[in-house]
Symmetry: C2
């Protein structure tokens, strides 16, 4: 474990004050230009020095012929050059005194043969100068809080709490929009490429020390330093959870990995074991990985697997009960105290069991305040799973029948929904018992978005919710296990 | 099996020319008023007769004191009255000569005790007059092509090809919006409630004969007539697929079902056997059920389990390969012919394996026309799984750098995307080899919606796509098995 985030080789890479860019030009179709564009688009506030053999200006910035000509020593070199001249540029950087780089260019180890030799050469040059670098064959880093985005796609959305290290660049860039849809975002996302110098383990260390990162996501096609991986993960997990997706375990996944990054995937069971030993939660898909991150980064720690479900519809309640059971969660009976407290709010057509079914209760506010309050107090349950369906239509219809002018209805109904939601948001923010929601509505619906923008995880369908709850509880257990083992070890050291 | 759709007791219920409504009033909060509102909202074109003991007009319609006073005999009675007076209304309907009803009211068998007796009485009244009815404790029918919606929620979206019978009303009404999000819709959706008279089997028969229904969806908490269920399903499956969700198999699901509809759920394995025998595809969630319906209703029949994946990003390609393998699908090697034909379109950084990876190919049109054309011709594959990520941002950036005025860029990029999409839509519409897409984008994004509105199933994440493909192939097998058994039986009959 590193002492502080500044001790990580990734610190200057993810937080540079100045950057030199190799490979950007005034040609609009070049990758290098695209990358420089991304840096400029997000409004990077430090110095940017393009290197170009001929042009005196590149994308409206003063360009330099040679890195040695630069007026100062940049924190970071960004290299997007043809494979065969990358080492040469790296050597020039080393001579200039630059100690950190991102090598975007591909054509190295992942293509085999001569590429593998070129990668060895690159590593040797870096070692000569004590340089640390990310890549090659990566797309770099997005650290939106520092307005840094070295990927070839424009950043979308806002900074968030998910720290990601990925063996796929697409799972960085193509997730900008995806995470925004969930009101989530990256603290820092790192594309590691071939990991010739900086690897997943370094990334975990960095993200473990990063104060903006509440949860770490890893996309893995193959692990190089197994032992260091396990040890580093174990040192981080007591402080923050790590969620990983490994797709090389199936034969098809393994073959596809090989042609993607050249990673040698191992059998599924081996990786399963590594993750268990590391205290890492394993996700089965990219979407599930982010579902779990969402939950772990948003709710208080879950202390057990007992779920109480609140619904106003039978079918969605039954499906949620089934989904919880299949995910390994329990549905406890309600305590007498809870039953007594719920009785005034649940109509005769409803049900005071678990799921609690409000059916067509008349006082909608009860659904969003009184009932969840009672259920969060339930001592037999560890978490509330809340069925969310915006009552906009019902309210609009009532308003129309009450004679409210047509042009007012939409806005008045939205206001009322907002009031209801404010009640449940207050419970969410002020109760130490966790809850999450599920819905079949689109998360882009403005009236669903209110909830997710305030940090409440709402999943499409109860299965995703149940799986995320189960994984979040797994984290509680994994963490306790590591803490227990550590304290036992410490005890033995003393004796 | 019924001779024609008109022979079904559900025909007058789902296609009435005139309706009498019991329980609607001028009180805006009553359920009955809400139902009448839904009927009116969708613009039902037949006669509507409200029955009310006091008012002369109900919701601006002429009201009648007694059903016997009506000027004609309506096709359908819609009953939303307090439980204890439902039989009385039913009896009056019988005397008037009405032969079909929907009983919305609850408080019958599902609450046990006296409710069960009231249900017996209701059945006896119906039998006395030879009446057929849906319910009680249901929310009726939505047949948007006939502008009929008897549920208490306003219909949203457009008519579609999914015929649904559901033991949960919410999985009818709360899916109106959900299906619209996928550019899908119901042909007819039926909430069966307690099935005191018309049951799931009747619904399957109706939907089997319904020309607008391409695929049947069933939400099941318990089956009453097992043998008839199996036989009816087997008679339909050769013509159209049936997909079912059964959630009573887990203990928690079973308990929740019991308090919802009073259905006695059976062990999971029993239902698994019933579905297999029936040739029904089993879904594991409501969302998965509709995913499978979407696929089966949209693509040509899948002849095998061999999938070829097309991607422009390594990570999403690897995840799709893994998802397919885990779903039981195969990823064949490409034929030499295909490899030869692909070579001009795939850049050196890409991969001509399966997944085919375009990476950063320059000619985007190749991705949407030439490459999928070659892959659809691949004789080693039965279906193409296509990674879809709108290149809008890339195009916008290029246009900006080309000096196209800022206010033109958005619209020009969208136009270009449209051109690309038109190419792939042409392939989709004119090739007899099926394909489906997967994406991490929101389906509400206008540039994703183009594809789904033209009928291409695009799933969020490769897992949903792989599962839907596997289920669609299962249908091919289940259908063949039934046809083979039927023809063997026919052969034996002749000998």
């Amino acid at each position: 474990m590193i002492e502080s985030i500044e001790a990580s080789p990734l610190y200057p890479i993810a937080n540079p004050k100045s950057i030199v860019v190799f490979g950007a030009s005034n040609s609009i179709t070049s990758m290098g230009t695209s990358l420089l564009d991304s840096v400029l688009d997000l409004g990077f506030e430090g110095e940017i020095y393009p290197i170009h053999p001929k042009e005196s200006r590149v994308q409206n910035l003063k360009a330099y012929r040679n890195v040695l000509d630069l007026p100062s020593v940049p924190d970071l070199a960004l290299i997007v050059l043809p494979t065969r001249i990358v080492s040469e540029a790296m050597d020039a950087c080393g001579r200039k005194g630059i100690r950190h780089a991102i090598v975007i260019s591909g054509g190295f180890k992942e293509v085999g043969g001569e590429g593998a030799n070129l990668e060895k050469e690159l590593v040797a040059v870096a070692n000569k100068y004590g340089m640390r670098f990310l890549g090659p064959n990566c797309i770099g880093v997005a650290n939106p809080r520092r307005k840094l985005n070295t990927t070839f796609m424009a950043f979308q959305g806002a900074p968030g709490f998910i720290g990601m290290a990925s063996q796929s660049g697409s799972f960085v860039t193509q997730m900008f929009g995806y995470l925004s849809d969930y009101a989530l975002g990256f603290s820092t996302a790192i594309s590691v490429g071939n990991e010739a110098n900086i690897d997943l383990v370094d990334c975990m260390e960095y993200l473990g020390a990063c104060p903006d990162t509440r949860v770490i996501a890893l996309y893995i096609e193959g692990i190089q330093r197994g032992r260091a991986f396990v040890e580093t993960a174990r040192s981080i997990v007591p402080k923050k959870p790590i969620v990983a997706l490994y797709v090389g375990g199936s034969e098809a996944g393994s073959r596809a990995s090989l042609s993607h990054t050249g990673a040698l995937a191992g059998p599924d069971r081996l990786y399963e074991g590594i993750f268990r030993q590391s205290g890492i939660i394993r996700a089965r898909s990219v979407m599930e990985m982010f579902d779990i991150c969402w939950t772990l980064g948003s709710i208080p720690r879950i202390k057990g697997r007992r779920v109480v479900i609140q619904t106003h519809s039978g079918g969605p309640g039954v499906e949620a009960a089934d989904a919880c059971a299949r995910a390994g969660l329990e549905l406890p009976s309600l305590s007498l105290e809870t039953i007594k407290r719920l009785r005034p709010f649940i109509p005769k057509t409803g049900s005071i069991n678990n799921p609690v079914d409000f059916t067509f209760g008349k006082n909608l506010i009860d659904y969003f305040s009184k009932i969840p309050k009672v259920l969060l107090d339930e001592k037999n349950a560890d978490i509330l799973l809340f069925y969310s369906f915006t009552p906009k239509q019902r309210l609009q219809r009532l308003m129309r029948q009450m004679g409210i002018p047509t042009d007012q209805i939409e806005i008045q109904a939205a206001k009322l929904v907002n009031t209801y939601y404010e009640s449940i948001i207050q419970l969410f923010e002020n109760h130490d018992k966790p809850f999450v929601g599920y819905t079949f509505q689109d998360l882009k619906d403005p009236l669903v978005r209110i909830l997710i923008e305030r940090g409440i995880p709402i999943f499409q369908g109860p299965q995703r919710a149940a799986r995320a709850i189960e994984a979040a509880y797994q984290y509680t257990l994994l963490r306790e296990k590591i803490l227990a083992a550590d304290s036992q070890e410490a005890g033995m050291g003393q004796s």
